[in-house]
């Protein structure tokens, strides 16, 4: 019983972070129909930003984790918008594969440029300084919950709540939904589509940065390639939930978290194979995902 609960808890914590990252994929896909392959690398940059900021502010400001998180998010928002302007905008009218290859190029560029500039070896993330570990609950028969797990999950949920508010209640959020549904109709309403796309990249990248900091906090290290697997898994989560659907990404993220923690427990060496099999099966059986809409080609 305790192991089951432990597996569930781990899945929930991991899943909430995946959901956060998956949101970025899904929002960008919604407005651009582009699989932003570089999203995982923005996560990595967010973690590195967190590493430098966290290391320097840990002792000097109150609530260093919050400061680190917010600053990394701002930095990555700017990076995300810049990537879109420089690399994606020129290929916006091109076939989707041209854009996909561009995105893969951006992904590799970010990884290896970071490796070149900051060095390829992993560095220790100042997790302990930012948030000293302690066990919050030690009730017999229940799994131990650490404060770090609570903070990670809480931050992820809070950010998802914030995103939900933005998308549902703010003008820009509504414009984002309008653009992802019908770009031309949105233009006819006076919506500046370029601006909305930039806004989407800013939000998505900020969430990725938050995901990066939370990952680094959990695993205690950062390296230039750390974004690849969380990125791929969050992407699978987005597809699973139905790419383009915001509640779908949240649901998909949680399902991915549970799948991964269960697979780690039973068949740990095949964990990634299980995850990718889930991806392939979902794509084959229900390409639109759980909450996605199907696309029909017009003849």
């Amino acid at each position: 019983m305790e192991t089951v609960l432990q597996v569930l808890l781990n899945g929930l914590v991991l899943g909430s972070v995946y959901a956060l990252i998956a949101l970025g994929y899904t929002m960008v896909y919604g407005v651009l129909k582009l699989i932003n392959f570089a999203h995982g690398d923005v996560l990595m940059l967010g973690a590195f930003a967190g590493f430098y900021i966290g290391s320097s502010v840990a002792d000097s400001v109150p609530m260093p984790l919050l400061v680190t998180l917010v600053l990394s998010m701002v930095i990555c928002a700017v990076i995300g918008v810049t990537i879109e302007r420089l690399a994606y905008k020129p290929v916006r009218a091109a076939p989707s594969l041209t854009a996909l290859i561009t995105a893969m190029g951006v992904s590799l560029f970010l990884e290896y440029t970071t490796a070149l500039v900051l060095g390829p070896t992993p560095r220790g993330f100042p997790s302990e300084k930012l948030l000293p570990t302690s066990t919050v609950m030690a009730i017999p028969g229940l799994p131990n919950i650490s404060n770090r797990q609570l903070v990670v999950m809480g931050t992820a949920l809070a950010l998802m709540g914030l995103l939900y508010y933005i998308v549902v209640h703010t003008k820009m959020g509504k414009a984002m939904r309008a653009v992802s549904f019908d770009k031309d109709a949105a233009r006819l309403m006076g919506i500046n589509v370029d601006q909305v796309i930039s806004f989407t990249f800013a939000i998505g990248s900020a969430l990725a940065a938050a995901g990066g900091v939370l990952f680094a906090l959990t695993y205690g290290r950062v390296d230039p390639y750390m974004g690849i697997y969380p990125g791929l898994k969050a992407f699978i989560a987005a597809v699973l939930g139905g790419i383009g659907s915001i509640p779908g990404a949240m649901l998909g993220g949680l399902l991915m978290g549970f799948t991964e923690s269960t697979a780690s427990y039973f068949v740990s060496t095949y964990r990634d194979a299980v995850l990718f099999s889930v991806l392939v099966i979902i794509l084959l059986v229900r390409p639109a995902g759980i909450l996605g809409r199907g696309l029909v080609e017009k003849v």
Partner: protein, 335 residues
Amino acid sequence: MGDYLKKWAMLVGACLLLFVFDRYAFWALNGFWQNLILLAGINMVAALGLNLTNGYCGQFSLGHAGFMAIGGYATAFFTMMFAWPDWMLTFPHPEFPIVFPISLILGGVLAAAAGLLVGIPSLRLKGDYLAIATLGFGEIVRVFLVNFEYMGAARGQTNIPQYSNFFWVYSIVLISTVVILNLIRSSPGRAIISVREDELAAEVMGVWTVYYKVAAFLLGAFFAGVAGGLLGHLLTILTPEKFNFVLSIEIVVIVVVGGMGSTSGVLLAAVLLTALPELLRFTSGAASIPGLSLLGEPSMRMILYSLTMIFLMIFRPKGLCGNKEMWELWGRKGS
């Protein structure tokens, strides 16, 4: 009839020339160049295969490394572990045993079988979804190899005999090129291309698109498998990590740079993209110029790759040759 025999006789003759070159001249090059030339040839074979799937048929696949892995491991299995009769291991010459080409073909066939396995279900997918599904396939293959104790698991399969030499690699490049050019200049080949151009229009012209998509997948996987077999028998070691998704991307970049659907363009790109980063390694020694020595950094190779991808997509999304052959482009300029 005469033409036909003459063409194939020329091909055999060319292979013999390669053999002579291999025996009497190739050894004179230093090891670095030898390695570079052989790697370029292997990349050519892999890229020719991917060009069939991606370039001619338009089925974007990011799982080429997976097929190469299957071919590589299977070929190594057949040359090392399979119970061949003894004479086959030394006939006609211990350095050129007959088992090697047989194993390469078997490795290719196994990879093609995997191609069929991936190709049929993937027919339901298009564009970037297909790309992602094949990427998933490649990763699954890799994870299984990591757990494949029989052939070294994560440590990899070592002590593979070094059978890949100039003769084998370039004979295979030559034959592959001829066969692929023949295929695409035929009715089935045009059917494959029509799927890329406009799947619906192809269907309405009577092309059984499902069949040709699977065929393109299967053939692409076959060449990938052979390339994987050559690679294993060049490096003498195969690790699952070698076949990660960066390898798939490298082959994709060769095809994209060369021009999707241009055999000669892809061959040229395979040479350029294999040679360029390796040659840049020289500059790491030239430490006197800081900017130049930076080019020798291992990361720089991938940065150049990635920048090539991005700028190519923005400024010349059709690659060096588009979907034309070099001689066609040349002829156009001349006329």
